[in-house]
């Protein structure tokens, strides 16, 4: 079973946006055991799109298009498909009322141009759009499938997961699947990790291991090709246990899990609460924690004490301590962690102070120097870090370490 992805949008050809859809879809198709041999990108040009559609139909069984389904005249996907495959468009009343509702909920009247989006090819299987106004659809053509999806990832992803995957699973009798297990590591760098799994990185299909670096964490992907999920998982879990033995608690999570989700889960399980006092991370720790649904159960409050005065007022850091050691110091991080915990009546307090840059560094205290304190009823500890990277990356790494310290604390 072969698939081909066609991304439609002049903004991609101009390099204005990154094509994350192609990457997302490729990953999901691989998991279904569907090979992607080609990805193509074309602008908002009917002739060139039509050419790609016809070419793709010749060499693949499944063609997925993304983008160009909006209400404006730039959006040429529907019209091009209609003309290329001689479809008749019919008004879908249910879709129309969904689009009208979309605007009504926001207290708006549907602009007349949006009506266009309710017309879909006669025999198409309609994919409703829960987030935006553009419906997707699936068309059968010479025993092949043309799957037409909207461009915005926030609309495409739920549509693909909730509608397209079940559709494909049902309609296609898939015999081989690819299954990937991702293990996420924090606190070690890529080359350290690569050195420790040199042997595994050399594995050949059906079982392979890959290493993918992000600024704040490293992913190890174990990929298995097998007849079914059970066989794939059996192979994967053998490799997984080898990797887990080598890295122990450095592995914080797996697959789609984020560190903040893991921290949230452990806090919930241990019935502990958390309060954070941030300076250089500027609210990012609180933001990440509150990205997790249900975080209000364990996250009590966050203080972003950006100015020195506010460190004194909000966190009761004594002025003398700041004067003596500086706002970026072990001592201040310790007091921040301890006081935020006590004042919020939380079980765990975190205090982060550092220099995110690009300015504000000195030879003594360079950009990237960060102190992270963690406080519980029994003990308050501070660690010193020297992160590299841009301002945003330093914030990200500081938030990652802070969350990871909480995780490790709770594991013990």
């Amino acid at each position: 079973m072969k698939a081909e992805i066609i991304s439609i949008g002049t903004e991609i050809l101009l390099g204005h946006i990154l094509n994350t859809n192609a990457s997302y879809l490729s990953q999901k198709l691989a998991e279904l055991g569907i090979d992607v041999y080609f990805q193509s990108t074309v602008g908002d040009n009917p002739k060139r799109l039509s050419f790609l559609l016809r070419q793709a139909l010749k060499r693949a069984e499944i063609i997925i298009t993304t983008g160009g389904l909006g209400p404006t005249i730039d959006d040429i996907t529907l019209e091009t498909i209609t003309q290329t495959f001689h479809c008749r468009l019919i008004l879908r009343k249910k879709i129309l009322s969904q689009i009208e509702n979309h605007f009504k909920k926001r207290g708006l009247k549907m602009p007349s141009i949006n009506k266009r989006q309710a017309y879909l090819p006669e025999n198409a299987y309609v994919l409703e759009n829960k987030i935006g106004t553009a419906p997707g659809f699936i068309l059968r053509k010479d025993k092949k499938l043309l799957i037409v999806l909207p461009g915005p990832p926030s609309e495409l992803i739920p549509m693909f997961e909730e509608k397209v995957i079940p559709f494909l699973k049902e309609k296609l009798k898939i015999t081989e699947i690819i299954f990937t297990r991702t293990l996420k590591i924090s606190g070690l760098c890529e080359s350290e990790i690569a050195e420790k799994i040199k042997d595994l990185l050399k594995l050949k299909p059906p079982l392979t291991v890959g290493i993918y670096a992000h600024p704040q964490e490293i992913e190890l992907k174990i990929t298995a090709k097998a007849k079914n999920k059970e066989i794939a998982l059996r192979g994967i879990s053998q490799i997984e246990s080898v990797i887990r033995k080598r890295f122990g608690e450095y592995i914080f999570g797996k697959d789609e899990e984020t560190l903040e989700e893991v921290v949230g889960r452990v806090l919930t399980k241990k019935r502990k609460t958390l309060a954070v006092a941030e300076s250089c991370s500027g609210g990012l720790i609180a933001h990440r924690l509150t990205n997790v649904p249900g975080s209000s159960h364990y996250f009590i409050s966050g203080i972003v004490a950006y100015s020195q005065k506010e460190k004194v007022r909000l966190l009761k850091v004594p002025v003398e301590v700041i004067k003596k050691y500086g706002a970026v110091s072990k001592e201040v991080a310790e007091i921040m962690a301890k006081n935020v915990r006590k004042m919020a009546k939380a079980d765990i307090g975190i205090g982060v102070t550092g220099i995110a840059g690009p300015k504000g560094g000195s030879s003594d205290k360079p950009v990237g120097l960060v102190y992270i304190g963690i406080s519980t009823e029994n003990k308050t500890e501070v660690k010193e870090y020297r992160f590299s990277g841009e301002r945003f990356v330093i914030k990200l790494k500081a938030s990652q370490e802070a969350l990871d310290i909480v995780r490790k604390k709770l594991l013990r």
Copy 2:
């Protein structure tokens, strides 16, 4: 002048890595006035790559390939090009000693497989690689150019900027450039905007207008094709002033500017300071504000009062007000904004409370309901919003509106 980009690598087709090269190259080619009509991605497969190369040679004058130049057997680009175009490979001694040096500098001996990388097609113009071991090259074929680049962006980017751009400028006598101006709009939805610039969206080159939607903001891109930057800018500024007249202060910034940068600039200029009290946005406003270098000059502090108790303790919201109106209410947002301002001794206070979901909504107060208060010495105002989308999107939209309210307040 037309170009086509071919990205080579099974890791892209599997969705393991994002194809940032295609986006980077497209942008750079556009700036040179070179149109990209197609981007394609293919795996480490000689037959399919050969097909794409031959197809691209038919429809474009410049073909750029990325990836597949490493020393391992997975790396099939050089061999495929050699076979497709019947080139003779010759050993480039200078390149060989560069590769040997690359290893020597790291205290290593060159692995024998790397010698392969020093063989390049006979008539190729060699592109030296300062970062890695894989050289790139340019091949002329039937008056067309085949530009072969390594995959890692850290190698590709300097090679393209230092070698390929000067080469193209010289050989192609480039007389036309493309220049883009982006205008960013907050507070209006895509279809409202599209409706208001229906006429402009129909413009044809050399001057075009495109509309690109993000969950929290809309971008209008004015693109001009012209002989030089001055002529391009003249055309762009005409369109820009038409658009600015139609949207007025809804336009918050241009080009790479973020809303938080604009807010920071205006705060700095007006010498005003800001403090924020966040509930449902969970620290994202503080995070965005502190992403801007120098934000410590105007951002005083942020309070993420996630629990009700903390709203009372940290922001002095009276318990009775919460009991009477609920934590998600106009009244609470107003007090949060006012008190955070007063307590932090800031000029402006922001208070945000709402329901980010997915749970916690009711028919009366659904997920997406957000109140944003802004307080200055003279006045405190609250606006009600009903945002749609996932938890993260609701947080994002709430943070966007909050920042935009500050911007608009400061403009008056």
